[in-house]
Symmetry: C2
Subunit: 218 residues, 2 copies
DNA sequence: AGGCAATCTTGTCATTGTCAAGTTGCGCGG
DNA sequence: CCGCGCAACTTGACAATGACAAGATTGCCT
């Protein structure tokens, strides 16, 4: 039951491929002018994959289905991402990059946690893939550097925690914050907190949790 | 009778519930036995699946491979578990049952968290499947009841938190504890804490984190 | 203009999940 | 004691998928 006809991301849009007339839009983005070679298929497949993953999870992803959605042949994705693992690795790397920039703007550790949760909610597909190691190519350079970037951003945020937070070991404070945020985000995405959180804003709920963790004398 | 030690997931342990078909071959003798109908294939496939999942993750699971490992034909698993989702659902249900009994023996909320982490480490395959909703049959009765059981056990543990834990809302304290434990366990299993935790005992590390959360005046 | 390399297509193969019959052997009612 | 039914498995088939190998097409560079 695949359904999900083309349309949406791909070109389609009624243009036969021989349309040599319109080659404008060198910067792929507009909905109409795909310069034959699809403009940039790589992006199209990535976004199609993100859509699919957000719905069915990374396991249900089908390269052929993505190709169909993008309106290209079944082997086209393999040219950009070598195989399934390659595609997912690219997604994970992109996710770590996005997360790194999101964390970098955080004022303190609590705010970093809030941004972590927000990231998971705004990019659920990225988030899921990022933490599914058995689906990724472990050694990939782009992935490891992006992950290191995000890791640095988190580490930097940890330094902002007030030292009188009796955790003593700053590293453990970081692990605590990461665990709390990651667990909350994961449970949220897997709909395990629908009851407790209810209709409250998840980020506000998390703020309360974070305050429980980093309760200073104040 | 099901309250045997939790570590016994080995092979051919007592069945969990129904399956009243086995009466003659109740005793597991047979070194070469293979009472033709394989004894109990259901258990064999479950344990084979747990092994495979622990190595390759739930996504890489192949029913045909499990059948091969069990020495049966490729369609044999389908008779016990209707399909892939059925098998994984059975695993998840079993996992929630195990988790429920593990949590029930906890003295307080912190200890419940420790047991949560221990469960994840001792039953990584169960744990991964339990929180991969898109792989499960959502409406399954056995699953939902087992999940409710575990949820009750956790809720009960929450009541043991000292009320002066300034979280005020007991529900939020539960969410905090769950998030912390779940995040720690998840990051642990995905090898994201190999650095920070190092060679220390993860449960001890988690104890420190839990103390950061539920710091009372003391 | 001509060639080259990137991009995409077509074709193919092994593997897998799932369904639809068959087959085997145990136990139960007669 | 016996055959009959039923549960546990087997055999066979089919569509879908991932991956690979060549071939076709086009933009670009010189």
């Amino acid at each position: 039951m695949s359904s999900s006809k083309a349309s949406g991301i791909g070109r389609a849009s009624g243009a036969d491929k021989a349309s040599g007339a319109d080659k404008a839009s060198a910067n792929g983005k507009s909905t109409t002018g795909r310069p034959y070679h699809h403009g940039d298929l790589r992006r199209a497949i990535l976004t199609a994959a993100l859509d699919a993953i957000a719905v069915d999870g990374p396991s249900g992803l089908s390269l052929r289905d993505l190709a169909r959605r993008a309106g290209v042949s079944h082997a086209a994705p393999a040219h950009h991402f070598k195989d399934r693992a390659g595609l997912l690795t690219a997604i994970a790397a992109e996710g770590f990059g996005l997360l790194a920039t999101a964390l970098r703007e955080a004022a303190d550790l609590k705010e970093a946690g809030v941004r972590y949760v927000r990231f998971a909610r705004e990019h659920p597909a990225h988030f899921q893939v990022m933490f599914a190691p058995e689906l990724l190519r472990a050694g990939d350079l782009e992935l490891t550097t992006a992950r290191a970037l995000a890791s640095d951003a988190l580490r930097e945020a940890v330094t902002t925690v007030p030292p009188e937070g009796r955790g003593a070991d700053a590293r453990l404070a970081g692990v605590a914050a990461w665990s709390l945020a990651h667990g909350f985000a994961t449970l949220l995405l897997s709909h395990n907190l629908d009851g407790p959180v209810g209709d409250r804003d998840p980020e506000e709920v998390f703020r309360v949790l974070a305050e429980m963790l980093f309760r200073r004398g104040e």
